[in-house]
């Protein structure tokens, strides 16, 4: 827990990285989880837009005011 405290506080010494802790050079697990979730969400976003479920697909253009969405 001391390691966390050193890491979190931004005290007068301004040492962001604790000297007593050797940070592993690899990517932390939580970053990998964030990355996987981000990729999944990006894929869903692209699929939704490609299948015509994007937000702008529901806005009638000026040329075609009688959208199927509108009554």
């Amino acid at each position: 827990m001391d390691e966390n405290r050193n890491h979190e506080t931004l005290g007068a010494g301004e040492t962001m990285i604790p000297d007593n802790v050797a940070d592993p050079e690899g990517m932390p697990r939580w970053v990998k989880v964030f990355g996987i979730i981000g990729v999944i969400l990006a894929i869903i976003f692209v699929i939704l837009h490609l299948t015509g479920h994007g937000l702008h697909e529901h806005i009638p253009s000026a040329d075609h005011p009688s959208s199927t969405d509108a009554k």
Partner: protein, 174 residues
């Protein structure tokens, strides 16, 4: 960028927290209005909701999102945290950038609904898909902003490749 003196840093931190938390609160309000606009049977209530959503978006959410992005950049670049050293700072920055970009590209839809509400009386079936998506987008934005708040508080450990390089350079200099 030079490290900011403590007084200016505190001021920048207050500005960043106020704009970020304000953005979160405004999006929560926006979402509440979008739910009312979608589910209410009272046409006056529906109209008021979309009119209010347009104004909140234009005068509160967009300015606060830009302020949060700007003050976040100042806060990271003006302190030893840096922008690219720690994963949590970098991810928070990317999420803020993404949320701001999506917000700015979706203001057209919000303004459209505001204009429609101002001119016509909306029934519960009018523009239903668009109204559902406005609510869903507000929910997604709320989740992203809550994640950002969590990252700011927990500051999960982990240095980027750039952070490790900087750390080695700093140790060599000592």
């Amino acid at each position: 960028m030079r490290i900011m003196p403590p007084g200016i840093r505190k001021f920048a931190l207050v500005a960043h927290i106020a704009s970020s938390v304000g953005w979160l609160g405004a999006v929560a309000g926006f979402m509440a209005l979008s739910v009312v606009g979608l589910t209410s049977m009272d046409s006056l209530m529906v109209r008021s909701s979309y009119l209010a959503m347009e104004q909140i978006s234009r005068f509160v959410i967009v300015p606060l999102s830009l302020a949060s992005l700007f003050t976040g950049l100042v806060q990271s670049l003006g302190t030893p945290w840096g922008l690219f050293r720690h994963y949590w700072v970098l991810i928070k920055f990317l999420l803020t950038l993404l949320a701001t970009f999506i917000l700015l590209t979706h203001t057209q839809a919000i303004n459209y609904m505001g204009n429609v509400a101002a001119k016509t009386i909306l029934s519960s079936t009018d523009f239903r898909q668009l109204r559902i998506q406005l609510m869903a987008n507000a929910g997604a934005a709320l989740i992203v902003l809550l994640v950002n708040t969590g990252l700011s508080v927990y500051k999960p450990r982990g240095l980027t490749w750039f952070g490790h390089r900087k750390q080695r350079e700093e140790r060599k200099m000592l």
